[in-house]
Amino acid sequence: MKADHFLLGETAWCPGCGNFPIREALAGALAELDLPPEQVLICSGIGQAAKMPHYIKANGFNGLHGRALPPALGAKIANKSLKVIVSSGDGDSYGEGGNHFIHNVRRNPNLAHFIHDNQVYGLTKGQASPTSDPGMVTGVQVNGVINPALNPLALALVLGSGFVARCFSGEKEHLKETMKAAINFEGYALVDILQPCVSFNKYNTYKWYKDRVYFPEVSDPTDWSAAMDLARQWGDQIPLGIFYNAPRPTFEDSLEVLSGEPLAKRPFEPNDVAGVQNEFL
């Protein structure tokens, strides 16, 4: 399959936006993995990044702001044969949806979570996001951001995520390969993607990222402490790559009822369960 097969529709993104390479990398990853569009589900919340389901040929659940993960989990439980991908913004995933992020890392369902981390709220025109660097001045944070930035990778590691990666949308080939690995990973896979927002983030520009990113050698991807060290690097040097890759039993594996046919495909006849009331006799 060709990547073009998955590209769909006219985007509503600004010219030069870091979302374009993410979309191309995703289309490329799906094509190279040879996944039929009807077997793929892309879930998102609301934001610029969250428009992804409209631009990739696949099933799509473009839900509410902050609520990309819960329907993704529900859909996976109902039909575990779907490849479920969450593609959404940093505000959506770490701000409004922070609670779902925390608890789905713990659950470890078989989902790939791609966060378009532009360190800003794009769609609502440039307010700070949880990952904005301190000092960033916006129309709301008029004296600059005062809170320290959330570190999603470190958080995911602490919560027990089995797959933690950081990419940059300016490194498309690396991004595509990482996405493939995340999609194939058994369990919750986090890929935080540094994504320049040319309209609202005047701090973390293409150049700013380019000057800082590098590819460290990850000799043992199951070394949690080494992964943590990489996750905590930020500033003059920003490492990219899969920092941690150590599968643990998935949410679906732990649910015995899910073994066998996907729930959505099992037939049902009310009379067959009538015996359930005997316990009340």
Binding site: G9, A12, P36, P37, E38, Q39, L41, C43, I46, K51, P53, H54, K57, A58, N59, G60, F61, N62, G63, L64, R67, L69, P70, P71, A72, L73, G74, A75, K76, I77, A78, N79, S81, L82, N99, H100, I102, H103, L255, V257, L258, L263, A264, K265, R266, F268, E269, P270, N271, V273, A274, V276, Q277, F280, L281
Partner: protein, 568 residues
């Protein structure tokens, strides 16, 4: 002929054990009963009590008066002795407290000591059951049978409990034996001994519900417990969500992906869900929400009852979209009605809210076994050849219902849903024309949906002069009220709603203008159904009888109000 039993004590003293054991054996032996719970929002201490009424047929409600009281602490006696019939009895443990000298109705049983002798003080409640059996003139075989079943996996426990039971019986002999004759048995068929939440959980299972995501909140948690237990043997997944927002969004994802899905909560949780409710309306994804009401505002009275969220359930959620609101009235009806909720949700691709409340959820009654063959499992999914290619999730149709497919159903076809306004394919749009088309398409569904609503149940005089109107869990108390008022010579009937929104209006329009007095009886402060009737039909209900102290109505309270209006 009837017997009313009250068991009271502090939270954690095991009133439920007594009632479950006694209640279930009575039902097994063919007696009709109802058992209600009044409990505090705490795990230990405080004062909780349960009431059991044994009467011919299956009684609809409990009453104030008490024939036998089991007072596990002194407070129980102090709080309830005024309800005790002159010929009543109080079972108590003289080691725990002593009755006032003038009280001659005491049945002093050393519950704790006898339990210890039988093998452990946890069995004090079993001793009490033994004493109750003697007072009721019952044999012990059915209780023994139940104890065997309950403890079949715990070596020796059944035997010890039987000893405790026998000790309670022996100790009771000298007080009074069979001094509370039971009403005649119902010989017709075996009955279930079941509470409202179990009815709903079982109805969900029988409706083919495969997924429940919820966050624990009294009084809805029993539904979660029921289905979680069943998930060991049936293909249903119960997931405790991180919050109610996650709960409803997970359920929507599962429904979109192809399984019948459910969430359950109470008012506070529903408040967190309403954005998701609106999402269900927008993406036209079937969903059933059980809203088990308790008194608000805010945390309110967590373990008590109210019908305060009717308007909230009809109006909750931003924007305009079709929905249905149904309510649990009796155990007998709610089983089939929850199935109707699933059927409507699938057929019209809308959210359906099923209202229950603590009064319904926690009440056990003896009811006929349910007929599972009456349950529907019609998913209304489009079949190969039944749709225009390429597949579009929101095809414009005359009925407003678009053919629904699920992801992966057809090779090459994908399913896109979007919380933004969208075109037929599900893609974001902003044009006024497409917006109008989509909004009109959704709203068109309301017409056929309205025709699905059952007219309210009419019980009593077919040409009433006085009409009592109600909805939901007041069904039982209103029936007993009507029976009592009819017996006193009034031409009275009740009109009781189980399907509430869209409001069925035929009976209202024909009856309301004809009666001399109409009263809307609601467990809330303002009379929300009365207001709804006024808004939808322009008809005014004469009087509103309200109660919102967190306790269910008793027949005498309603009778008093009705008589008051009659006099004036």
């Amino acid at each position: 002929m009837e017997v009313n039993i009250l068991v009271g004590g502090a939270a954690g003293q095991g009133m439920d054990t007594v009632m479950n054991l006694l209640g279930k054996s009575l039902v097994r032996e063919g007696y009709g009963l109802i058992y209600t719970k009044d409990y505090m929002s705490r795990v230990r201490g405080g004062h909780n009590f349960s009431t059991l009424r044994i009467a011919g047929g299956t009684p609809w409600t409990t009453v104030h008066s008490v024939d036998i009281m089991v007072a596990l602490n002194e407070e129980t006696y102090k709080l309830h002795h005024h309800k005790l019939a002159p010929s009543g009895r109080v079972i108590y443990d003289p080691e725990v407290f002593t009755l006032p000298e003038e009280e001659d109705r005491g049945v002093a049983i050393e519950l704790k000591k006898l339990a210890e002798e039988a093998g452990g003080k946890v069995m004090a409640n079993t001793v009490a059951v033994g004493t109750l059996l003697v007072l009721l003139g019952m044999e012990s075989n059915t209780v023994e049978e139940l104890l065997e079943e309950t403890f079949k996996e715990k070596e020796g426990m059944a035997g010890k409990n039987v000893n405790a039971l026998k000790a309670g019986m022996a100790a009771a002999e000298k007080f009074c034996s069979a001094c509370f004759p039971l009403p005649p048995k119902n010989e017709d068929s075996q009955k279930l001994f079941i509470d409202g939440n179990q009815v709903l959980g079982m109805a969900a299972l029988g409706s083919g519900c495969r997924f429940l995501s919820a966050y624990p909140m009294t009084p809805s948690t029993g539904v979660m417990n029921y289905l979680a237990e069943k998930s060991k043997d049936y293909p249903v997944v119960v997931e405790q969500a991180e919050d109610e927002i996650a709960a409803i969004n997970m359920a929507l994802g599962a429904s979109y992906s192809g399984v019948r899905s459910l969430t359950c909560t109470s008012g506070g949780g529903f408040a967190l869900m309403v954005e998701g409710l609106s999402l269900a309306g927008m993406i036209e994804t079937p969903l059933v929400i059980i809203l088990a009401m308790r008194p608000g505002p805010a945390t309110g009275l967590p373990t008590r009852t109210e019908q305060g969220d009717l308007e909230f359930s009809i109006h909750g959620g931003h924007g305009e979209f079709p929905r249905a609101v149904l309510a649990a009235t009796s155990h007998e009806d709610a089983f089939y009605r929850l199935n109707k909720a699933f059927e409507l949700a699938d057929r019209y691709q809308v959210p359906v809210i099923f209202l229950s409340d603590q009064n319904f959820a926690d009440t056990h009654r003896s009811v006929e076994p349910f007929d599972f063959s009456r349950l529907g499992y019609n998913r209304h999914l489009v079949e190969e050849g039944g749709y225009e290619k390429p597949y579009k999730r929101y095809r414009l149709t005359e009925s407003g219902i678009s053919p629904r497919a699920i992801p992966g159903q057809f090779p090459g076809e994908t399913v896109l849903v979007d919380s933004d306004e969208h075109d037929q394919n599900g893609n974001i749009i902003e044009s006024a024309e497409e917006r109008n088309q989509m909004s009109a398409k959704r709203m068109r569904k309301l017409k056929a949906l309205a025709e699905e609503m059952d007219e309210p149940d009419l019980y009593g005089d077919p040409r009433p002069e006085t009409l009592l109107i109600g909805w939901g869990s007041t069904y039982g108390v209103l029936r007993e009220t009507i029976d009592a008022l009819s017996a006193s010579g009034l031409k009275v009937a009740m009109l009781h709603f189980s399907d509430i929104w869209p409001l069925p209006q035929k009976r209202l329009r024909s009856l309301l203008p004809e009666v001399r007095l109409s009263c809307c009886v609601e467990n809330n402060a303002t009379g929300q159904l009365a207001s709804l009737i006024r808004r939808e039909t322009g008809l005014t209900v004469d009087k509103r009888i309200n109660k919102n102290d967190g306790r269910p109505f008793m027949p005498d309270e309603i009778i008093k109000e009705v008589e008051k209006y009659h006099e004036s």
